[in-house]
């Protein structure tokens, strides 16, 4: 079974169809590239997967869970009936679970972590604190733990720091541990975003243009890191404009144009596909 399965996904913003009946799936352990010209709907798909948007039509399955769907515009129905979740009748609660769409943090909880196209770090917090955000979903302390600091909570806090440091080290940011995120050079900010996402220990890592704005050297290092991440057992789904990156590390590629899927296959197949060449690679010397 595929790790992530997108079925007939559609998203309309007013009259604009950003994503138009798209289906594809991501297999466990692969690196899948999502490419297409600007405005093809790539980032919208990522936002649909991570629960920031709700689909107009279609469904997304992750690891057997339905993480996005649209029963009659779920959000509109749900706002007035959120109290249904507390009705102590099994069938009512099951109905509630079918109605509602998962919230972004619940999707992260299931094992999907992402980075953003426009870097969205917690700018005025340190590198360590940023990566600690990733460990948040794997820990539990609440008010009680915060105020009374029982031993379990102290241990958890130490665990959070240790975990975060591990990923800071992995992404080669150890020397910046206590630096504010906004003071890092651009390339390192990109890395920090990946470190933060990895700290959530996802099964699926979603990267939105990870090489955007990086120089040659940084890009090569990043490609190497992405391969290492995959080898450690994490499935990678990425959007990228840099063809060297896409052709270099992706095992499979899905090509979008104007919200529609126009091709899918290995890098070689995609490069030979006439529709892709016409829509996307036409002007380049591929």
């Amino acid at each position: 079974m595929a790790l992530l399965e997108i079925r007939n996904l559609t998203k309309q913003f007013g009259g604009l169809t950003a994503v138009d009946h798209i289906s594809f799936s991501v297999e466990e352990g692969e690196i899948l590239g999502l490419i297409g010209p600007n405005g093809a709907g790539k980032t919208t798909i990522f936002n649909l997967i991570t629960g920031i948007h709700t689909p107009t039509e279609g469904e997304i399955f992750f690891n057997g869970h339905r993480i996005a769907h649209s029963p009659l515009g779920a959000r509109k129905i749900i706002t007035p009936v959120w109290w249904l979740q507390w009705v102590p009748v099994q069938s009512v609660r099951e109905r509630w679970d079918q109605l509602r769409t998962l919230r972004p943090h619940e999707i992260t909880e299931l094992g999907i972590a992402r980075t953003f196209q426009t870097i969205r770090l917690f700018k005025n917090m340190t590198v360590l604190e940023n990566v600690m955000a990733g460990v948040h979903r794997r820990t539990r302390a609440g008010v009680w733990g915060a105020i009374f600091r029982p031993p379990a909570q102290r241990k958890e806090e130490a665990f959070i720091v240790k975990e975060a440091e591990q990923y800071i080290h992995f992404m080669g940011l150890a020397e910046y541990r206590d630096e504010l995120a906004k003071n890092l050079p651009y390339g390192h900010q990109r890395r920090l975003e990946v470190a933060r996402a990895l700290a959530a220990r996802p099964r699926l890592l979603i990267l939105d243009e990870p090489a955007g704005g990086l120089n040659e050297q940084e890009t090569l290092e990043l490609m190497d890191l992405i391969r290492q991440i995959r080898d450690s057992g994490i499935t990678v789904l990425l959007i990228e404009h840099d063809m060297k990156v896409v052709m270099g590390i992706c095992e499979r590629i899905v090509v979008l144009d104007y919200g529609k899927k126009i091709a899918e296959g290995t890098p070689e197949e995609v490069q030979r596909n006439p529709r892709v060449i016409q829509a996307y690679l036409g002007e380049e010397e591929m």
Binding site: R103, R120, A133, I160
Partner: protein, 320 residues
Amino acid sequence: MGNLMERLRRIPLAWQVGLLALAILLPLPLNDYYRAVLWRTGIYAILGLSLNIIVGYAGLFQLGHAAFYALGAYTSALLNLHFHIPLVLTWPISILVAAFFGYLISRPILHLRGDYLCIVTIAFGEVVRLALVNNIFGITGGANGLSGIDQTVLFGITLRSPLHHYYLVLFFLVMTLLAVRRLENSRLGRAWMYIREDETAAEAMGVDTTWAKLLAFVLGSGWAGLAGALYVARIPVVSPDLARFIESVVMFCIVVLGGTGSIPGVFVGTLGMITLPEIFRFLKTWRDAWMGVAMVTMMIARPEGLWPSRRIRMEIREEE
């Protein structure tokens, strides 16, 4: 001066013990009037610290905080008047009632942003005040409020003098301070800061933003309820004036004046908004005018507050 501050920062324990000793010894040479002023300062510092959780840490606007203060006070007063429960035992109930209302009001409006949230909280503050004025359920005593509340008896000692009440408030203030500081440096405190910095990114990293914001509201409201109960412990009369809009504004100013999200800032703010106006009472109405001038000047010259938290100063200065 700067050098001294630097040195004080390096020995935080001595600094804290010194301040605590000062707080304990300060009222001794003063007369009862100034002791009462200090008591008021303590109450508002607790209110400021509680509002700081909502406004400072989680970055949510709350301009109806006085409503929870009043709810705490009325709960304590009503339980004492009708059921003759000793005041001390009503305190936890006051906290719970205020926290419950905090939950009730914030749950449906959490998805609102900035200014919209602000309007709803103002409206809630007014609803509470008008409900109290209109003698809701016939128990709140209308515009005159309630009187005839018992004196506080703590461990067999009746608290009579302003000095007793000052120490009572000081005790709770220190407790509040410890709790708030621990909250700030915890998983929950970080979750609030992630939300304040970038809510979308926080959600994407798996922070349950509804959970974190609700807790900010519930904790802040409950703590305001405690302040209300402490008010009743000294003043045996409660009236709807406690929930006036201007009270909420003063609390908001305490947080903003000193520096949003900063614990020392709350104390500076309380000093500026409560203690100094009280001491300069002889200036009469000029007092309010100077207050206004000072506020405007400060917002232009130093928008991050008088003693800002390191982080917030950067957030504000960045936008310029």
